[in-house]
């Protein structure tokens, strides 16, 4: 005889479970007659289940008794709810005006999880349908014997791309350099394809024999600036070349028989500078024909020292705006393309760099400083962000007490004439201090940047952050430059002064009619742009990497906020607080466990007990440990 089901060792328990389930669900809705009969029979023979039944019933009565004591909601509940709904309606309306999709946890009518699952399935199925050899973009090759029937030879299909204006420098077949530009609307894998050849008219020969140090294209696209190599004894030139206008690309690429798009240009723009003196190939022994500053500070802005002003630049030809210099750092156009700024030092002489400005269209660039210790850092809107090096001596060696501050502009820059001379005293470590300032190219008015030892600051495009070297500079021994001293690279906040820059009191008109800025005398004022860390100290060591925070943090330094740690008697200061975590200042973190409990006492909020997980720690200047912690459950 075969039983309808196999008996199991826990059948007894299973029947009790079933009975309990039927009792419970019976309160929600009547059981099926079969189940009800079974339950009745089971209860009749099972005391335990009868007790459960009675207990469930009693508990249910207790629960249902709660209905008689319904709590009264606050009277202002509708008022606050209506206000919150009104806020939500306003936010939604604004988003709709901006074209943003409404915030929803659904994508269309599908939950996000389902939608992402479908997407994965589609990708997998789609990938399985694609041939292993990759996607064939050309005409599909006939299969089987059809291939033998005079099928045209397959060739690569030109790929249409978004029309883009491109410019580049290449070495021609004769070894000269040429500047090319084109508007590209399709690309081909080889020269035998049907892409139209590049327009050779869009080629400009560059009269340089060595690879340029840098090439810049004006934001307006009207000219390019070539910084020739400064490796030669004559130094570098900065040559301005007009850029031929690029015609609009053809609508469709016409097939062409030409197989060599890099044929010789049909036209080559002259690149000879207007004067022989500024020819890059000038003899190195000749003194540079100077629009450039000489070793004498008063010479630099003097137009009379420049090449013949009557030799106005030929708009169709290239010309040098400065010769015989060594460009220090990068040159850069202003965002509006009206100015070019750079710092450069003389190729002859042992002096540091000065700041140069060139207005587009002028024959020459002008040195706007003559202190030989000013560096171009970048553009901030329409203003030049630059650095000046304040010289001074700080002895890192306590025994080197002879090292005294040196007020002279560059007294420490000239190395000893006799390299074999043995110093009788321990060498003092000379550390100079950079000062950053803004300069208006039109008026040459300067605005100091609050903060000490701020070197080569670069403000991000949003104007909220700045990256700079926070530290000292050490003369490099050549008398022409500095290397980094003690400090660190930091990212700091940037607070831009909204007021116009203050007129530099010591700015004096130069021979060119423009005042010569002397940022050394800059006065820090309330309207100046400032770093969020005014001391220039920047973030703490160990946190130099940019912090990508998910949640906003509230700074609590300076308040009485503190945390009582559960595992130690002393308290810890709360430095900041965010949705995801908190930063504490602790005297010692040796005993901190992987997670620990703390009670935060923060202004406005009641005390809050949290579980914290230390994520990082850095030592603060006061010798304490800053511990960043995340809230964990």
């Amino acid at each position: 005889m075969t039983l309808p089901f196999r008996r199991r060792h826990n059948d007894h328990e299973t029947s009790h479970d079933r009975a309990r389930a039927l009792i419970a669900t019976g309160y929600l809705q009547p059981n099926e007659p079969v189940d009800a009969d079974w339950l009745e029979a089971h209860l009749a023979g099972c005391l335990e289940c009868r007790n459960d039944h009675a207990a469930y019933g009693a508990d249910r009565e207790l629960l249902r008794a709660l209905r008689e004591h319904a709590p009264e909601p606050p009277r202002d509940l509708w008022a606050r709810t209506a206000a919150a709904i009104e806020l939500e309606a306003g936010r939604r309306t604004r988003n709709q005006r901006r074209g943003r999709p409404p915030r929803s946890w659904r994508i269309g009518h599908l939950p996000a999880g389902v939608a992402s699952g479908l997407l994965v399935v589609l990708v997998v199925v789609g990938a399985s349908l694609i041939p292993r050899g990759g996607v064939q973009l050309g005409p599909t090759a006939p299969a089987g014997s059809d291939v033998a029937v005079g099928t045209p030879r397959s060739e690569a299909t030109p790929l249409a791309v978004l029309t883009e204006r491109l410019a580049w420098i290449q070495v021609a077949e004769d070894g000269t350099f040429e500047f090319r530009q084109a508007s590209v609307n399709e690309v081909c894998p080889d020269l035998q394809s049907r892409c139209a050849p590049l327009d050779s008219a869009m080629t400009t020969s560059l009269a340089i024999t060595q690879a340029p140090q840098a090439v810049l294209m004006s934001p307006t696209g009207s000219e390019i600036v070539v910084v020739t190599s400064s490796g030669s004894a004559a130094g570098a030139d900065i040559v301005v070349l007009p850029v031929p206008t690029v015609p609009p690309p053809p609508e469709t690429a016409a097939p062409s028989a030409s197989t060599d798009p890099s044929t010789t240009p049909s036209t080559t723009l002259p690149s000879a500078p207007p004067s022989a003196a500024s020819t890059p190939g000038a003899t190195p022994t000749e003194p540079p024909a100077t629009p450039t500053p000489s070793g004498l500070p008063t010479q630099s802005p003097d137009p009379s020292a420049s090449p013949d002003p009557s030799a106005s630049p030929d708009p169709s030809a290239g010309y040098s705006i400065v010769t015989g210099v060594v460009v220090v750092g990068d040159a850069a156009y202003s965002p509006d393309g009206l100015w070019l700024a750079f710092s450069a030092r003389l190729a002859f002489g042992v002096v540091g760099p000065d700041l140069y400005l060139w207005r587009v269209g002028d024959p020459l660039a002008t040195a706007v400083t003559d202190d030989h210790r000013t560096f171009f850092s970048g553009w901030l809107g329409g203003q030049v962000l630059a650095n000046r090096v304040e010289t001074g001596v700080v002895s890192a060696d306590p025994s080197a007490t002879a090292a005294a501050p040196t007020p002279s502009p560059a007294p420490t820059l000239t190395p000893s004439a006799d390299p074999n001379a043995t110093p009788t005293t321990p060498p003092a470590v000379v550390e100079d201090h950079p000062v950053a300032f803004l300069l208006d190219p039109e008026t040459l008015a300067t605005t100091p940047v609050a903060g000490t030892d701020v070197w080569r600051p670069t403000v991000d495009p949003t104007g909220r952050s700045v990256v700079y070297w926070s530290g000292t500079l050490i003369p490099d021994g050549t008398g022409t430059g500095w290397s980094l001293g003690t400090g660190r690279l930091v990212i700091d906040g940037w607070l831009d002064g909204s007021a116009p820059p203050t007129e530099e009191p010591s700015a004096k008109p130069g021979n060119s009619g423009r005042p010569t800025a002397t940022p050394a005398a800059a006065v820090f004022g309330p309207t100046m742009p400032v770093l969020k860390t005014p001391t220039g100290a920047g973030p703490l060591p160990g946190s130099t990497a940019p912090e990508n925070r998910k949640w906003e943090r509230v700074q609590l330094a300076g308040t009485r906020a503190y945390a009582q740690l559960s595992d130690r008697p002393q308290t810890a200061r709360v430095l900041d607080l965010g949705y995801g975590g908190v930063a504490l200042e602790i005297s010692s973190v040796e005993e901190l466990s992987a997670t620990f409990e703390a009670v935060l006492h923060v202004p406005i909020l009641p005390p809050v007990r949290v579980n914290l997980k230390p994520l990082y720690q850095v030592r603060t200047p006061s010798g304490q440990e800053r511990v960043g912690c995340a809230f964990v459950s």
Binding site: A24, R80, T81, A89
Partner: protein, 219 residues
Amino acid sequence: MSGSSEPGGFAIRTGVREWPVAGRAMTGTWNRDSAGTFVEALFARHHGEIYAYLLRMIRDPELAADLAQDAFVKAYRAYDTLEKGENARAWLYQIAHRVALDHIRRRKIVRFLPFTGESAGSSPSAERLAMDVRLSGPLERAMARIPERQRGALLMAEVHDLTGLELAAALGISHVAARALLTRARESLRQALAAERTAEAAAEADRDAAYAHGSERGR
């Protein structure tokens, strides 16, 4: 009865009057005026029970009011996701249930302690005391001991009288799963109540012993 009172709309039955909400989610689009009218009607009909449900889940009157407000704002925001007007109550409970669970999860990470800024001599208000008594009986303590989802299921089924289908919709699970959850919840409550009674009996015995000890010392 709940049916459309006008073309393209539906009505929420209140027992006293009907709250017509024209042009609502049938089109699948969100309309500010319709959503506002709809949520206002929902609030008038259900705000008491939603607040009570949240209070029984959270056991904090102020917080329950905040969460109730949050639930209705979410209902306003998600007004176009309600497919049938007759499901509005279960749909609202579903929102409130999720709001409560979200808060409970968050509270497991950050727990605010009672405010300690009061002076030592100050005493809680009578309202607060009454509410504490109401929320601190054996049943409430036992309910606080069982898992949140089970607690929500029990409250919705027994106190707020949701049907089986409504309960499943509010919990966002199948009908069978809702029944199973409710079965587990009853068993959990039975055990929790037994534990509460045992603890209460032990505390009573301790108090009696302490009283007896004090009386002997007084002699």
